[in-house]
Symmetry: C7
Subunit: 96 residues, 7 copies
């Protein structure tokens, strides 16, 4: 069973925020908004421009991303905890 997100939405599978990780991402536990890490599961067709065309989402399935913790909607599918975000909730791709 899969989710096809609409518009510029992105479905990600959040990774538990490891305090210290081989990959080097440590999410400071300051009270302030701690970004989350996760893997892209599905992407929508992209934001609608006034021309009527869509601007493709700039991340793809399998990418690892960093996103604002408080954005998006949580949902469980086939036992996995997923989040449906807007592209603008995603801060960066994690590479290497």
């Amino acid at each position: 069973m899969t989710l096809n997100p609409l518009d510029d939405r992105v479905v990600v599978e959040p990774v538990e925020a490891e305090e210290t990780t081989a990959g080097g991402i440590v999410l400071p536990d300051a009270a302030k908004e701690k970004p989350q890490r996760g893997k892209v599961v599905a992407v929508g067709p992209g934001r609608l421009l006034e021309s009527g065309e869509r601007c493709p989402v700039s991340v793809g399935e399998g990418d690892e991303v960093l996103f604002g913790k408080y954005g998006g909607t949580e949902i469980e599918v086939d036992g996995s905890e997923l989040k449906i975000l807007r592209e603008s909730d995603i801060l960066a791709k994690i590479v290497g």
Copy 2:
């Protein structure tokens, strides 16, 4: 008796949120906004662009969709509980 939604509105028939379902969607009952599931009954002509053209709605009659619980307007037609949403209330299509 049918409803022809205007603009980018979509009429859906919400499905009761099954806790665990064959289809795999479990809507976490966290206090936070739990998305709802439902079937598309009718769609409007789509959002009006500055060019004066309409951008067709990206879901169609019969599609199963996931939408934000607090969006839209509730109405009962011929005994069915329906919701009239904006396209932007819809998070994703549920496929397979």
Copy 3:
């Protein structure tokens, strides 16, 4: 005496919200916003686009429509209670 609404405004004559109706519309009396039903009496020239052209209103005189209860301005003309709405207050056309 008639009202020619301006811009994308629409004049409707609200129909009393029947609890159960032959036509099948039952407006749930949940505390939440109950949409109203009414008949279109007059429509404006439509929304002004940046090009300077107008986009015609997508309902016409005589159409039955469903609209958000709290939108618009009430006024009585020749003994009839009317409402002056914006096109965006109208949720759907009721057909058949």
Copy 4:
């Protein structure tokens, strides 16, 4: 002494809200916003579009109009109580 309103502004001379009128307009005295009636005294050149052109105001001198009571600025000129409105404060033209 005359006022030349700027942009899409319109100068109207409000007519006292008759409870019941030959012309048929009765402004319900519900606590909610009661629209006012008045005659157009002067109109501006119209709203500026991004193209730099102006879209002419859709009412003219001498028209009878209905407008939101709380919009605009009151001013007295040569003993007459006038109101300077935006075109968007005007709900409809009263014809016949």
Copy 5:
């Protein structure tokens, strides 16, 4: 010493609000916003449009204008009390 206002700003010299004037303008002292009268001293190049061009300000030096009392910034230059407004603060030109 002169002020060259930027963008669509206008420098005016407010005239004391005469209660009753030969010119006919009486500013009602209702608690509500009483518009002010003044003479245009200098105008900016006008509002910037998306095309990069400017739309010239629709009042000129020496014009008498009516403007919202609470808009703009007060400043004294060479002993005169001036106000720096946006064009959109100006309601109308006073002619004749």
Copy 6:
């Protein structure tokens, strides 16, 4: 050490607000927002338009300007107190 402001930002060196000045600017000490006077030290490339082009800032290095007191960010560089403003914080150029 110099600051190259980004976008439509402008770096100014505020001049202490003289109560009465040869140049004629007296900033009324009304509680309301008293504009400040200062000299332009550096300007950015200008506001980005939808076309992707920039609209040059309409003041230049060495110009004397008047700006809203509460806008911008304060910073000290090489012992001078500077302010980084947006072009829209600047009310007018002071000439002569």
Copy 7:
């Protein structure tokens, strides 16, 4: 491990705010927002324009920049404290 910021985001490594510095930047410790200094580590593809094109970010890797203290999201990568900002959080480039 590197971060590829999305859209018009910029990753910077904040420099501890030196009270007095050879380079001349002293960030006044007024209660008001004290801007921060830092080095650009990575930049995104730039802001999306309505045409579908991107406007490149106007700072590059290695640039020293000044940015609003309260903007952006903090994150630690490979032991370094980084901030992910929007281009509009950056006030100026520090040159020389």
